[in-house]
C-alpha cells in the first residue's frame, strides 16, 4: 500500500524506459523507508527545492571519508529517511567483480541499509544509498572483515582512483591501467581515508586517448595512454575496409551509404595528416595528435605504435566555480611501468600536491589554482620546459616572456642610462 500520494513521481514510470520510481516501489515492499523517499521527492518536485540536508559528522572510527551524511529536513513527515547516509565502497580496479561478491554486497546492504545502490557513482565507487547512523559501524565491520572490501574517498580526501578496463580486455591500452590504479590505491590509503588537501583530488587512468573513464573531464590528475612512434598499419586490412570485407567502426558506423575511406576517414582526421598514395594509406605521424579516430574506424588495419606510455594532464573539474574545465596537457609522454613501482608517476603526483597544498585556497580544485596562478607558474613548479602544445594557438600568440635566467646578462639595467640613450 503506498504511504504517500505521488502523482508527479508516477509520471516518471511512463514511457519505454526502466524507471527508478518503479524500482523504489518494488523495494518498498520489503523496505518501507523507500515510500518516504518517494514522498520526499514528490514534495521536492512540488516545492521545487531539495529536502535533503547534506553533510554532517557521520563516519566510521579512524576514517574521515567514505560516508556522506544525508538528513531529511522534514523528518516528522518522512521518518524513514530522517537519516539517509550514503556509503561509498572502493570498487575493484576496472570494476571486475565476481557475481558472488555482488550478491554479498547486496545482502549486506539489505541487512544494514535501504537496499538501493548506484552502480557506479561518477567517481567510480560502488554507492550504497540510505542508512542510519547506528548502522554504520556494524556495516563497516562486516564489510571489512567478511567481504574484505573497503570504503572509498569523500570530502577533502584523495578520491577513489578509477581506471578503464585497460590491458585486461582492450587491445588499445598503452599501459596496464588496472595495475597502476590498484598500486596507487594501496600506496595512498591514508590520503583516501583521511582528509589531506584543500579540497577533493581525483586520479583517473585511461589506457588510450579514447579515454573511457573521461579522465580529461573529471580528474585533477589524468593519465591517458599514448604512443611515441608511428601508428602500425596493416595495408591488406585497409584494402579489406575499402572493399567492404570488414565493417568500419566495429559495425557502429551508420550504414546510409557504403564506406568511403576518403570521406569517412581521411577527410575527418583532425590534423589532415592522412592520405592514400598508390593505393596505400600513409600517415604523417609527426602531425598526428593520437586522437584515435582512424583507429576506431578501422581497428583491424590500424594499431597504436609500439613505444607506449601515457600523457599527464591536470586540472579538470565540474562547473561549481568558473564553469567546467577540461584538463591541460602537462607532460606529453611518460613511461608507465610496474618495474619501478610507478616511482616516476608518484614523483609527479607528490610535487603537484606539495605545491597545491600550499598555494591552493580552501575549496579550490587544482584546475582553479592553475588558472588563478597561470600555467607558466605551474610548469615551473613541475619543472617542465614549456613546449608548443602548452600554448593556446602557438603560431598566433605574440606573448613570449623571458625570465632573468633565460636572457644572457639578465634583466639588470640602469634605467637612467637607458633613458639617456632612448630619450625622445
Amino acid at each position: 500500500m503506498p504511504k504517500h500520494d505521488t502523482p508527479l513521481m508516477d509520471e516518471l514510470e511512463k514511457g519505454p524506459w526502466p524507471s527508478f520510481v518503479t524500482d523504489l516501489k518494488r523495494q518498498a515492499e520489503t523496505k518501507p523507508e523507500c515510500w518516504d523517499i518517494l514522498g520526499q521527492m514528490e514534495l521536492s518536485f512540488k516545492d521545487r527545492i531539495t529536502h535533503w540536508k547534506h553533510g554532517g559528522i557521520v563516519g566510521v572510527f579512524g576514517y574521515g571519508g567514505g560516508i556522506v551524511g544525508r538528513y531529511s529536513d522534514s523528518p516528522k513527515q518522512f521518518p524513514g529517511v530522517a537519516h539517509f547516509h550514503t556509503v561509498r565502497l572502493n570498487q575493484p580496479s576496472s570494476k571486475f567483480y565476481s557475481s558472488a561478491k555482488l550478491r554479498d554486497i547486496c545482502n549486506l546492504w539489505e541487512k544494514y541499509g535501504s537496499g538501493m545502490t548506484n552502480m557506479h557513482g561518477s567517481t567510480g565507487d560502488l554507492v550504497l544509498l540510505g542508512t542510519r547512523t547506528e548502522n554504520l559501524e556494524p556495516l563497516f565491520y562486516d564489510l571489512t572483515h567478511d567481504l574484505k572490501q573497503d570504503l572509498g574517498g569523500s570530502g577533502s580526501n584523495l578520491r577513489t582512483p578509477a581506471c578503464c578496463i585497460g590491458s585486461a580486455r582492450c587491445e588499445w591500452s598503452c599501459y596496464d591501467t588496472a595495475s597502476i590504479c590498484h598500486h596507487l590505491t594501496m600506496h595512498y590509503q591514508d590520503e583516501i581515508h583521511r582528509p589531506a588537501f584543500p579540497y577533493k583530488f581525483k586520479f583517473k587512468f585511461s589506457g588510450c586517448p579514447n579515454d573511457c573513464v573521461a579522465s580529461i573531464a573529471r580528474s585533477d590528475f589524468a593519465l591517458i595512454g599514448t604512443w611515441k612512434d608511428d601508428i602500425r598499419i596493416d595495408q591488406d586490412a585497409v584494402q579489406g575496409y575499402i572493399k567492404g570485407d570488414y565493417k568500419p567502426n566495429g559495425g557502429a558506423r551508420a550504414k546510409s551509404k557504403p564506406f568511403d575511406i576518403d570521406e569517412d576517414v581521411l577527410a575527418l582526421c583532425p590534423t589532415a595528416c592522412m592520405r592514400m598514395k598508390d593505393n596505400k594509406l600513409q600517415i604523417d605521424n609527426k602531425n598526428c595528435t593520437r586522437c584515435m579516430f582512424c583507429l576506431n574506424m578501422m581497428p583491424r588495419a590500424l594499431r597504436p605504435g609500439v613505444i607506449k606510455g601515457a600523457s599527464i594532464l591536470c586540472g579538470a573539474k565540474a562547473p561549481i566555480l568558473d564553469g567546467a574545465q577540461l584538463a591541460t596537457l602537462i607532460i606529453p609522454f611518460v613511461e608507465v611501468t610496474a618495474d619501478n613501482e610507478y616511482e616516476n608517476i608518484i614523483e609527479v603526483i607528490e610535487s603537484i600536491w606539495d605545491w597545491w597544498m600550499e598555494a591552493g585556497k580552501n575549496r579550490e580544485r587544482l584546475g582553479e589554482t592553475m588558472q588563478r596562478l597561470g600555467l607558466p607558474t605551474f610548469l615551473k613548479v613541475m619543472d617542465v620546459t614549456p613546449i608548443p602544445q602548452h600554448i593556446k594557438i602557438p603560431r598566433e600568440n605574440p606573448y613570449v616572456f623571458w625570465t632573468d635566467e633565460e636572457v644572457p646578462g639578465g634583466f639588470e639595467r640602469d634605467i637612467r642610462e637607458f633613458r639617456k640613450k632612448h630619450a625622445q
Binding site: H83, G155, R363
Partner: protein, 80 residues
C-alpha cells in the same frame, strides 16, 4: 624552527578553541606554524581526530575540523 608534534597539537587546539568560526579548514591550521609543512600539519590534525580532541565535519565534498563541543551535529540539533 618547526614546532614539535606536541607543540603543534596544542597550537591547533588553541586555534580551534579561539577561532570565531567553529569549523575550520585544514588550511586554517597552517598558520599555527609557518615552519611546518602542510602535510605535517594535516597528519597532526588527523591524529587529534583519532584522539577524540577534534572531529571531522564533511559536506561530502569538503571536510572541516572542529572541537567536539563546537561542531554542528544534525542529530542533536532541534528538528522541525
Amino acid at each position: 624552527m618547526a614546532l614539535s608534534v606536541d607543540e603543534l597539537k596544542a597550537a591547533i587546539i588553541e586555534k580551534a578553541t579561539k577561532a570565531p568560526k567553529p569549523q575550520l579548514y585544514i588550511k586554517d591550521f597552517y598558520a599555527c606554524d609557518a615552519d611546518s609543512k602542510p602535510r605535517v600539519i594535516k597528519n597532526v590534525a588527523n591524529d587529534l581526530v583519532k584522539e577524540g580532541k577534534l572531529m571531522f565535519w564533511s559536506s561530502g565534498s569538503t571536510t572541516m575540523y572542529a572541537l567536539p563541543s563546537r561542531i554542528k551535529n544534525e542529530e542533536t540539533r532541534p528538528q522541525d
